[in-house]
C-alpha cells in the first residue's frame, strides 16, 4: 500500500483507493468466472458466485432455481450450518424433521432432498464425497460458546453459529424467529442404539457437497465448529463455494415414491406460480 496522509479528504481517498485489488483466500470474487477451481464442465458464462467463507464466518445468498452450489471443505475442519428458505415466501423454509422422516433416513448423502415444511424440495444433494453430516445437533449458541471457548459473539474470536445466522438472516429482513433447525454438512454424528449421539468428525480435506436449488432460495451458511466437536480449541477452517446456473429437477430421476411426490409438488407449485 502506498504511503499517503489521511488528514484531509484527498489524502484519505487516496489511502482508501490504494487498498483496492487485494486478493486473499477468504473473500468473494468478482466476476465469479475470474475465480479458480471451477469444476470441469462448468462454462465461464454460467458461473454465478465464487466465495470462500473463512473460519468462524458466514455468508448469505439469494439464488435462482436450478443453481448448483458446490461446497468444499478445503482443510478438513469446515462445518457448514445451513438454513434454507423459499425466497418468494420466506415462511417456507427448511424442515429438518420432515427431511429425515419423509425420506426414512437420518444420514444425508447424494440423492437426498432437503425438504421444506410445505412438502416441497428446496434443494437436492446431487453429489457428496463427505457423508459426514448431521441433522440432530444443530448449530452452536452464544451461551455454549462462552462456556466452552470464552466467547460466542460475532465480534469475538469464537463466533456461535446462531449469532452468525442471525446476522445472515437480517441481510434478507429475516428475524431470529425465522431461523429453523439447521442441517450441518462436513461434520457428522452417529446415533447409537441407546439414542446417544457420537461425533464422527469430518471426511478430511477436500470433501465436496453439491446442492441444486429446486426453488428460488435464500441460503444462509455459517462456517463454525460442530457443537459436539470435542476439541477444546475452537477449530474451524475455510469453506469454498462455487455456484453456477442450471435447471431444476424434472422429477424424472426420483428413486423413491416420497421423492417423486416431493418433486411433483415442487414442479406444480413452480408452474402455477410462474417461476
Amino acid at each position: 500500500m502506498s504511503e499517503s496522509a489521511t488528514n484531509d479528504p484527498n489524502g484519505a481517498r487516496a489511502h482508501a483507493r490504494a487498498q483496492g485489488g487485494v486478493s486473499i483466500e477468504t473473500m468473494p470474487v468478482f466476476p465469479p468466472s475470474a475465480a479458480d477451481h471451477w469444476p470441469e464442465g462448468v462454462e465461464p458464462e454460467s458461473a454465478v458466485w465464487a466465495e470462500t467463507v473463512g473460519a468462524g464466518n458466514y455468508t448469505a445468498l439469494a439464488v435462482a432455481a436450478g443453481t448448483v452450489i458446490e461446497l468444499t471443505d478445503l482443510e478438513g475442519d469446515a462445518c457448514a450450518h445451513l438454513a434454507l428458505f423459499n425466497s418468494l415466501q420466506t415462511d417456507e423454509r427448511l424442515n429438518v424433521a420432515d427431511t429425515v422422516k419423509v425420506q426414512w433416513q437420518a444420514y444425508l448423502a447424494a440423492g437426498h432432498l432437503l425438504l421444506s415444511d410445505r412438502g416441497r424440495v428446496l434443494a437436492t444433494i446431487l453429489a457428496d464425497t463427505s457423508e459426514h453430516h448431521d441433522t440432530f445437533a444443530g448449530t452452536s449458541t452464544r451461551r455454549v460458546n462462552e462456556a466452552r471457548y470464552g466467547s460466542g459473539s460475532a465480534h469475538g474470536g469464537s463466533p456461535a453459529g446462531l449469532e452468525l445466522l442471525t446476522l445472515a438472516a437480517a441481510k434478507f429482513g429475516l428475524e431470529p424467529r425465522d431461523l429453523p433447525p439447521t442441517v450441518t454438512l462436513f461434520q457428522g454424528v452417529f446415533v447409537e442404539p441407546t439414542g446417544a449421539l457420537t461425533f464422527t468428525g469430518s471426511a478430511g480435506a477436500g470433501a465436496t457437497v453439491r446442492l441444486r436449488a429446486e426453488l428460488p432460495l435464500i441460503v444462509l451458511l455459517a462456517n463454525v465448529p460442530h457443537p459436539l466437536d470435542p476439541r477444546p480449541e475452537y477449530t474451524s477452517s475455510p469453506l469454498r463455494i462455487r455456484a453456477w446456473a442450471g435447471s431444476p429437477a424434472t422429477g424424472a430421476d426420483s428413486d423413491t415414491p416420497e421423492a417423486a411426490r416431493a418433486y411433483a409438488n415442487t414442479i406444480a407449485y413452480s408452474n402455477l406460480r410462474g417461476i
Partner: protein, 206 residues
Amino acid sequence: MSLTATATVVSDDTVERRGPWSKLLTAGQSLTIVDLHGNQAVDFLVYDAHDTAIRYSAQQTMARQGNIFLTTGSTLLANTGDALMTIVEDEVGRHDTIGGACSKESNSLRYGAHTVHEHACVENFLAEGARWGLGKRDLVSNVNFYMNVPVEPDGVLGIVDGISAPGLSLTLRADRDVIVLVSNCPQINNPCNGFDPTPVRMVVTA
C-alpha cells in the same frame, strides 16, 4: 399419575381426540400429561411466555444431553440454550423429538395426495397458536410425547409401534414462564396413535 398430596390443581383438561390445547404456565408449575388410552402421540411445543422468539429447540436439547430420546431428567432447551421445561417424571421411558409434526404437506409426501385434506398436527398448532399471536414462522421441530422413533445403524428411521400404555403419564416442570402448545395427534396413516386417535388429559399443578 402421581400428584403429590400438597399440589394444588390449577387446571385439569381433557383434550379431545384430534384436537389442540394450550396453556400459560408460570415458573415452578407442573404439567402432567396422561396417555389415557395408550399410544397417543402428543405433539408439543413450548415458548418463553415473555418473548416467543425464545422457543423450543429440538437440536439444542439433543446436543446438550447428547441423546435423541427424551425421558426423566431431560431439559427442554430453547434456541438460545435457555431451559424452558424439565421432565421430572416419566412412566414410559423414552419420547421422540426428531420426527416433527405431521402436516397436510408431509402427509402428501409420505402417503400420497389423497391425504392432503386430512387434519394434521400443524393445523392444530396454527389454529391454537393464533390465539397467542404465534404463526407459521414460530413452528419448529417439536417434541412427540408417547411416540417411538428409533434410528437404525444404517440411518433408517421411522415412526413405529408405540411403547406407551393406557394411563401412563409424564410430568414436566416449567423452568420459567412458558406457553405450551399441544396437538393431540390426528394421524391415522402410521402407528403413532395406534391408528385410532384418542383423548389425553392435561393437569397443571402448582
